[in-house]
């Protein structure tokens, strides 16, 4: 790592450590993570942890009964939801739900939070649809990845509101993607901040790398397909103007990301159709 990269890495770590509002994930997620990783644990114990939070339980059941799944019969209990959706998948949905709740209590100047989350949810849904098209085993992991892809931008808005505004102005003036404008002004961008934040939360490396490389998927080392998936999902959601995290236009497109996923143009139509069909339903559940 060269000196300038080391100093910008240090600046990003300071920025994240100076954000106490988001210093740690809610306790319920940590307890759930421990229970799932405990070989002596069982489904009832996992369900009991979720049921302690009635608001979280209600949201999860609404999700299980939403257009995201279209199960033929109604899912009435958390136990049933865990059985049919899967333990890891439900853990990912808990992560998505708790992070949105945590950040919705945080104020940041100069950003339309509602629009930010609409965009984040849209990218999550598009990433999930891409993963489903590719027959990925756990599509919820991709929903979380998409949902969190711009989380670093929220930290920049919270801690550096003037620079955040300035980067939007610069990106419009010079017709740059917003991450390029941030990099010119700050020497780092929101993907660096997101990667460090997820690392501080001890989330899996695949999520850290997917978030950290979503504008530069060619640089992803261990999880290039995760980065490629969220790169494309971000482009689709911006193209369809499903919310906005401040990006004025569709961000730079890296063609090799699409080629690496082995999808066809017909798949694009299916991905967009499916994402649009699920969007409003999921939005209502997460943003009510």
């Amino acid at each position: 790592m060269v000196m300038s990269e080391m100093s910008s890495q240090g600046a990003v770590e300071r920025l994240v450590s100076q954000s106490p509002q988001v210093a740690a994930l809610p306790l319920i997620y940590q307890r759930l993570d421990e229970a799932i990783n405990d070989p002596h644990s069982n489904l009832s114990r996992i369900a009991d942890i979720i049921l302690e939070d009635s608001s979280l339980s209600a949201r999860l059941l609404r999700l299980a009964n939403s257009a995201m799944y279209s199960f033929p019969s109604r899912v009435e209990t958390i136990n049933r939801a865990i059985t049919i959706i899967g333990t890891r998948q439900l853990q990912d949905l808990v992560l998505a739900t708790t992070v949105v709740s945590m950040f919705r209590g945080v104020s940041a100047e100069g950003i339309d939070m509602e629009s930010f989350w609409r965009h984040s949810i849209a990218v999550g849904i598009c990433a999930r649809a891409i993963a489903a098209c590719r027959l990925e085993a756990n599509v919820e992991r991709f929903y979380v990845l998409g949902l969190l892809h711009d989380i670093g931008r929220l930290v920049i808005y919270m801690q550096l509101p003037q620079q955040a505004d300035e980067s939007i102005r610069l990106s419009k003036e010079l017709r740059l993607s917003l991450y390029q404008a941030e990099r010119r002004l700050l020497d780092f961008d929101h993907t660096d901040v997101g990667r460090v934040l997820l690392s501080s939360w001890r989330l899996p490396l695949s999520l850290q790398e997917g978030v950290g490389s979503h504008h530069t998927p060619g640089r992803a080392g261990r999880y290039p397909e995760d980065a490629a998936t969220v790169h494309l999902a971000d482009i689709f959601a911006n193209a369809l103007a499903m919310g906005s995290s401040g990006e004025p236009v569709i961000p730079v497109f890296e063609a090799h990301a699409w080629e690496s996923l082995g999808l066809s143009e017909e798949d694009l139509t299916l991905i967009i159709t499916q994402s649009k069909a699920q969007y409003q339903d999921v939005l209502d559940i997460f943003l009510e």
Binding site: A132, L176, I235, I250, A255
Partner: protein
Amino acid sequence: MVLAADVSDLSGRVLLKAGCVIQPGHLQILATWGVTAVGVTGEGLGGSNPDPEREECRIPAAALREIEAEVVRRFSVVNGDHPLMRRLAAIVKQDLMSNYSLHGDE
């Protein structure tokens, strides 16, 4: 579009029967269970998929110019020559035209 044959998931369970007219909700079921392609007969998505050329004729020229300018603006920093971006731009234009047809320029 009408299903040409039964559609099953990986375990062999039948999800949709042959002859079923495919509706948008069916696409979700298929995607949920990992089905990415099916055999079909007939045309149109449940008979409700708009014909882009016909829809374009119904939109006033000024509004159509605005829609096209918006598509160009959104794609201003991407490589618009790539086939995927061309297809995506066509979807976005169709989306904006459908929105105009439903809501006008409100």
